[in-house]
Symmetry: C2
Subunit: 152 residues, 2 copies
DNA sequence: ATTAAATGGTTGCATTTGCAACGGGAACGC
DNA sequence: GCGTTCCCGTTGCAAATGCAACCATTTAAT
């Protein structure tokens, strides 16, 4: 049993936590001098929307691993800043479907250089295969802990 | 240039963010029914202290990637709960050195089973070599982004 | 059909957080 | 010596967050 290595600083638990905040901070700071009024919380939501629009707030809450109330408030400011719109769902009036505005779509390409710059600095010296494995492992963990009832 | 894959949900930036919070949430919830009055923020600080005691608050702030004010308040509650003590540094009276109490040290072994349980669920189906590579990549990124002036 | 249970979004509240300002202490200048 | 600058910890403030309560709507039960 070499399994005592759960709490040490090189364990996945705490590495993901710290690397995650670190990367987000760097990208945000790199892009900060621009005129976009982006708050830290907004990035994760926008990333989701760049991949799939028309989702419910609840969907965004789940994939962002945040409370639905938190998402609701973040969307209010994103809507106020004209990045997204809330469209009532005609088939189920409880839902509001979230869509990007033109401004919200354009932001992806504008932020790209900053994200790329940070990632290049972060991964300099690493080979692409290891990075791919890291992504695979993290994706696996994400799925393992979010997919509701499977194991045992 | 296959470099468009920075914002997608499978990029390291957002995987680390979400997996990090997810793992921390799971461990905390798994251990929640216990009597320890632990708050989410406390875990990261304790992990550091389990590895090296007698550090300054500033050191904890840097390694936890949090504001020094945030760390100061977290330590106040940890101190109040009798997990740590602040010892004034006699050689430099600006510093306060943080040490674990007996209760704080004992907590590591008590939390271990919960952390292990969550990690086993999270990494079931992954091979140890890939997990090790993932840790290596994340450690590399952590160092690359925290070591002040290096490349370019 | 009517009632009960479940779901989605909003809001109040308390906690957590980062930022900035402050004060005490140390290091370096003169 | 004295003053300037820097570093560390603390605290006020505003923003972000989770939780829970609430309302509207849908679905299930009878």
């Amino acid at each position: 049993m070499k399994k005592d290595a759960l709490f040490p600083n090189d364990s996945i638990v705490f590495l993901t936590n710290r690397v995650g905040r670190l990367l987000a901070n760097h990208i945000r700071q790199a892009a900060e001098h621009e005129s976009w009024g982006l708050q830290p919380q907004h990035m994760g939501i926008l990333v989701d929307l760049w991949q799939r629009e028309g989702v419910r707030q609840q969907d965004l809450a789940v994939s962002n691993i945040k409370d639905k109330g938190t998402i609701a408030r973040a969307l209010s400011s994103l809507e106020e800043a004209n990045y997204v719109v809330r469209i009532p769902d005609s088939t189920d009036k409880r839902n509001k479907l979230i869509y990007l505005t033109h401004k919200g779509k354009a932001l992806q390409a504008q932020l790209q250089p900053y994200a790329q710059m940070v990632m290049e600095q972060a991964t300099a010296g690493l080979n692409d295969k290891d990075i791919a494995i890291c992504q695979k492992v993290l994706s696996h963990i994400l799925k393992a802990l979010t997919t509701p009832g499977q194991e045992q």
